[in-house]
């Protein structure tokens, strides 16, 4: 991923003065990772597209008020994270409204289950996580962010991030472990550990 912090901050300030070419540059430079976060979080192309589009447009709307006290990336991670969590909340409400209280084995539900079965086990395990744990996992594993950066994206503390990751991992292990014997470490416990330390 291209990283040129001073440039991004200057570009965003130019956007604030109405420079659309600067905005186009920002989209070009950051759409790939914005897409990556949104897709890893939602697991769905339509939802991810909506999140990415809305994130850039919010950036545009807020550009006039942007002051380069915050790093561009931190700022944008925050916008995307907020949108991801909002989307999950909306989706949950929608599900509560549409799913009947008594499950009936209609073709629709059977179909969903079939698709679930076919979806990758990892995706299903990620989807099963509560949204904030899933987002912490996504930012840690796919974006390689440290606790401090995850904390500012999620607008929380590093301690809370540590807890979210621990719980998320525990759950992933539970879900994936039930499906297959995923967790047999190939080169064996202690030897692998000692080799890691070398």
């Amino acid at each position: 991923m291209p990283d040129c912090p001073e440039n991004d901050e200057l570009l965003l300030q130019a956007v604030g003065r109405g420079d659309l070419a600067a905005f186009s540059r920002i989209v070009e430079r950051h759409q790939t990772w914005a897409w990556r976060v949104a897709y890893r979080f939602t697991g769905n192309e339509d939802d991810a597209s909506d999140i990415v589009q809305e994130a850039f447009l919010r950036l545009l709307d807020a550009s006039g008020r942007y002051r380069p006290t915050a790093k561009f990336r931190t700022y944008f991670y925050q916008i995307i994270s907020r949108l991801c969590l909002d989307q999950a909340k909306k989706k949950r409400l929608l599900l509560l409204e549409t799913v009947p209280d008594i499950p009936d084995p209609s073709p629709d539900i059977t179909d969903t289950m079939m698709r679930r079965e076919n979806a990758s086990a990892v995706r299903a395990a990620l989807d099963a996580l509560p949204p904030n744990q899933r987002l912490a996992i996504v930012l840690r594993y796919y974006e390689n962010l440290g606790y401090e950066e995850i904390a500012s994206a999620l607008e929380t503390t590093t301690k809370a991030v540590e807890r979210l990751l621990a719980r998320g991992r525990e759950r992933l292990r539970d879900v994936l472990g039930r499906r297959e014997n995923f967790f047999q470490f190939p080169s064996g416990g202690f030897s692998a550990f000692t080799r890691l330390k070398e």
Partner: protein, 166 residues
């Protein structure tokens, strides 16, 4: 030497390289002597290669074009508002202002109603035995809408003018 509970509490931060040096050494010392915690640690480490299995589709073609088109539209709209000099109209339609104006109009209306002697309760002279409908009917007739126009009134003058014109 740290206990299992204490070591496990720090296992995530240790794996993520977020634990201070001194604490990291303590975790390592525990792991070296505790197969149970070590297997737990191995399990945690095994997650990273698994998560890589989640496929990532490419950014949809046309997504950036859509974003830029919407941005251009918004920018144009903003500029049009600025240059037309009518942006103050937007101020008039602020929800709080509309609500304030409605409330003010209501208060003025009530005050005028009070000044003109309207009351919402039956007056002592109104017949108590009449039904609401009968009261309405009586009030209707009380407004001379069906009677002849009083002499010297505007209505009389208008009718006279119309008569002349014929």
């Amino acid at each position: 030497m740290w206990s299992c509970t204490k070591s496990r509490k720090h296992l995530n931060a240790y794996m993520d390289g977020e634990l201070p040096e001194r604490k990291s050494r303590l975790v390592e010392r525990h792991l070296a002597g505790c197969p149970t915690c070590l297997s737990k640690f191995d399990g945690l480490r095994g997650l990273a290669p698994l998560l890589e299995k989640d496929e990532l589709p490419p950014v949809p073609a046309g997504l950036s074009a859509r974003i830029l088109a919407e941005a251009a539209f918004r920018q144009k709209h903003k500029e049009a508002q600025k240059t037309s000099g009518w942006e103050w109209l937007g101020f008039l339609f602020q929800p709080w202002l509309v609500r304030g104006a409605t409330t003010a109009a209501l208060i003025v209306g009530l005050a005028m109603g009070a000044l003109m002697g309207w009351t919402s309760y039956p007056r002592p002279d109104s017949a108590q035995w009449m039904t609401t409908n009968e009261n309405v009917a009586r009030n209707m007739y009380a407004f001379d809408v069906l009677g002849a126009e009083p002499r010297g009134s505007i209505e009389a003058a208008t009718l006279a003018l119309l008569d002349d014109g014929r």
